[in-house]
Symmetry: C2
Subunit: 190 residues, 2 copies
């Protein structure tokens, strides 16, 4: 998606540890017009699929998923929670997510009430790198019995193993910008 790559080239900043900062438009300040173009592109990529639910992970996936849902007939969006919440009770789908970069282990959770075998599910998230978070969401989809149509990712770090891990499982992953490498401050797309 050229508009997105252009934006990454212009505003993305590469930090130590292969961190790409895109907080001016994606995951702190959010550019809503750009989010609509992203949603439109997901719709184009998953054309012909009827999506009944979109699943994402708090916090930075939520804005993207909510805007994308408007391109999928306003289907409901569920965000998996990272913390024990008073807002959740009863039966939960649970998956353990190990963040290698942060060195943390988190149980992400979705109420069983909102996802089941009748659903055609699209997962949306902002980044795919090691795949840890996405594998957690995929595990929740598996537990629910929903049909996982695929995953829509905004930025994939193609030099990390997440994309291959997921695609090797037969999961459809569509990434709008795939980064091949960082060359100093410069982002090289695949």
């Amino acid at each position: 998606m050229e508009l997105l790559k252009e934006r990454i080239r212009l505003e993305g900043r590469v930090k130590a540890g292969n961190i790409l900062k895109v907080d001016s438009f994606l995951n702190h300040q959010m550019d809503i017009a750009l989010f609509h173009e992203i949603g439109k592109e997901f719709r184009r990529l998953f054309a012909g699929e009827t999506i009944t639910k979109i699943l994402t992970l708090e916090a930075s996936g939520i804005g993207l998923a909510v805007v994308a849902a408007q391109h999928f007939g306003n289907c409901p969006v569920i965000f998996a929670k990272k913390t024990q919440s008073k807002n959740l009770d009863g039966d939960l789908y649970l998956a353990r997510v190990t963040s290698y970069t942060r060195g943390t282990v988190t149980d992400i959770q979705v109420s069983k009430k909102y996802l089941g075998p009748a659903d055609n599910l699209l997962i949306i998230d902002d980044f795919l790198a090691t795949g840890a978070a996405l594998l957690g969401l995929v595990e929740i989809a598996r537990q629910s019995g929903a049909r996982l149509v695929g995953c829509g990712i905004v930025i994939e770090k193609g030099f990390q193993q997440g994309g291959a891990l997921l695609r090797d499982k037969g999961i459809r992953v569509e990434s709008l910008a795939v980064i091949q490498a960082f060359d100093g401050d410069r982002v090289i797309f695949a």
Copy 2:
């Protein structure tokens, strides 16, 4: 907002400790069509105001703020972060939020790059109860020098002090559903 109250009457569940669970449409599964009606109502209430930025708090404010922004000319949305993040660096606005219900203290943070004296700011959040989170966002607005137009709240617990605390400071708070009391399972609106 009658549509919202009706939804709370139908799907809200009252739990011990004055907790209102609205996870079927507001803060776990999100009803995007309802969010648009909410956004429209905020636009109506703040008609005539030019909003340059919307500020919210992760996670459950994000979906609401992003949809509402579409009714305010697609202005950018910033979500304050609750945790130290690799995505943030440099100068930050910081505010301490004490959650009485959870017994936690959190420093919420916004990058100074994205909010300043030139901004007309609208704060949006899902709940107003003790006012702790909202006072944190207001403090960030104060530090930034932005003009705080007001706060748009989806559900206010009118029997808790948050609303009065904020309004006594001269801050405009517009809540779409104000709960006067819980009577067993029943929600009584003001």
